[in-house]
Symmetry: C2
Subunit: 348 residues, 2 copies
């Protein structure tokens, strides 16, 4: 079926670099006609957008593990979509795909951007679009490789994960349980902690807002902490460092407490615990494992299917214009599970 000639993409672009939390004035909205794909290219309708803490980093200038979003560019976002038109031999009209489609209703990709966006077909029988942005997507991949490759878990060890109710944390903890670890979450507030224990099956969860993080960790990790999977940085990281076990591994996956910092990031002042405990702190970036995503998807989809792994998404339905305020939910600590924006008018 040919593309309608009046097909328009509604887009959210970065207008300015934010200072602190991204305010309304850092965004600009555009509507652009979408032409047919070039040879080797695709046109994809965006069905669901992934909202990630890392997005805040992409909005900053300066070198990171990925180039910043340029001023005037469509905001980068992982997404699931369906192919509207293809001139690429690997994709057919109607295929479900995932990749960095951006915050827009329709994405037109040429052969080059298609590769850099990491576009790939997904199997809708393994999970919903939201699950493909969660357990079967980047958060799941991050959890899987961060825990298995960097964390080097051994059955019987104690794993602590911060951001336990978040997208990455929920899978880290559940995977830890499957691998035979004792798993203690850290989350903000009683509701999240209940969710983490009652619905996700962690052994325990500590409320970092409770004012007794150190004592609570001591109580729940009497043998010390063998693996700490850190999504938050800041004071929580500092406190966990005081409870490391000998030869502990600290996986640095993110530092959401620092992403909107307008003053200098606070360094972990207890880092000499690494020396005392012969412990390791190591950063990980999920893209390094791209050639092994298939292995992780197969394993995690199996756990989803047999019920050992639960997937929890916080799905907001709306238009791309709802992206800016939805993104802020990540930083206010109010969302539970993977935050997804499903676009109205998108066929589920």
């Amino acid at each position: 079926m040919p593309l309608p000639s009046d097909l328009i993409s509604h887009q959210v672009r970065l207008a300015a670099r934010p200072v602190g939390l991204p305010t309304d004035d850092v965004w600009r909205y555009t509507d652009e006609p979408v032409g047919a794909p070039d040879e080797g290219g695709l046109v994809v309708r965006v069905e669901a957008l992934s909202l990630d803490p890392a997005m805040r980093g992409w909005m900053n200038e300066g070198k990171s593990y990925i180039a910043p979003v340029g001023i005037g560019d469509v905001m980068r976002a992982g997404a699931v979509g369906r192919v509207l038109a293809s001139r690429h031999p690997g994709f057919a009209e109607g295929d479900w795909v995932a990749g960095a489609l951006g915050v827009q209703t329709v994405a037109r990709l040429d052969a080059r951007t298609l590769a850099s966006a990491g576009m790939h077909r997904i199997d809708p029988s393994l999970g919903t679009p939201a699950q493909w942005l969660n357990v079967l997507g980047m958060p799941g991949m991050t959890a899987y490789f961060g825990l298995k490759e960097v964390g080097q878990p051994r059955a019987g060890e104690t794993l602590v994960v911060s951001g336990a109710a978040g997208a990455v944390g929920q899978t880290v903890g559940q995977l830890g349980r499957i691998l035979g670890l004792r798993v203690v979450g850290i989350a903000g507030g009683e509701a999240k902690c209940r969710f983490v224990v009652d619905e996700l099956g962690f052994d325990a969860c500590v409320d970092y807002k409770g004012g007794a993080l150190k004592e609570d960790l001591r109580a729940h990790c009497p043998q010390g902490i063998d693996i700490y999977f850190d999504n938050v940085g800041g004071d929580v990281l500092d406190t966990v460092l005081t409870r490391l076990a000998r030869k502990a591994r600290v996986v640095i996956c993110g530092a959401i407490s620092q992403y909107n910092a307008t003053s200098a990031v606070a360094g972990p002042k207890n880092y000499l615990s690494l020396l005392v405990n012969r412990a390791r702190m190591e950063g990980m970036v999920v893209f390094d494992y791209a050639d092994r995503y298939g292995e992780a998807v197969a394993e995690l989809a199996g756990y989803l299917k047999d019920g050992r792994l639960r997937s929890r998404e916080d799905v907001v339905r709306g238009s791309v214009r709802d992206f800016p305020r939805t993104l802020l939910k990540l930083f206010s600590g109010e969302n539970l599970g993977k935050l997804v924006l499903e676009l109205d008018g998108a066929a589920a």
Copy 2:
């Protein structure tokens, strides 16, 4: 030959826990008669004492990688000595030995303290007493296992070592060169930097007091830093973190800039460079490798003999009463090479 019945040991004991730099009033001097050894024990005359940054940590209360020195106890110190009397089958009168003999002129060890002090015979043909406290002793062991086991060096990589003119740093850098690395030292002052390049053969040395550490590291490490061997912590560590190469290894061996801190230790605020660069920061404690010291001594003694490795000691001659003020040289930044106190009246 029986021990003289009036043999006295002159001792330096810890009288109080220091706040900041150890002042005179934290020490107490005692003279005690030394009896004959018990069955399974030794009496050893101390010939040379090792003065180490780590000593400052042993004087603090609280858990570390080793128990603190108790108030009233003889100050712990690594030393080389000669056996005056032995009732242990592994040692004979006249043997040269090394271990934690403490800051005293004569040490009497029973079977139990002999083991916990790590007493072992040394071969005086491989090095002088001062060298047995340096390249062939704890600093050399620390350099060897820290670089090889934690640093995981590969020929062609760039190694940066702080405290480059110090006991551990000098061997780390020279060993790095032997292993085919590009080696850049960090030291305080022009004289130390000249020594590090001209006498130790590092490729370059940066003066951290020069006010341009970041720029100097950029100039000398254009491909980034693959291994950073950290003896100092603080601002130097923070600056080095900004220049890490992908998959870098940071060996946390010490933090001399922090040992006398009376306020909170400063955390490395650039630790998220570990994430961006998929890098690792790992602590090491030399005692973990005790069962492999023989391997390291053999290799390092070989390098000493064939001239590829130079050993530089800052030898002070005096009595045990000179220990307190000699120790302060470590923290004022004035000493070059391994600081050793050779005891007057000791037979060389």
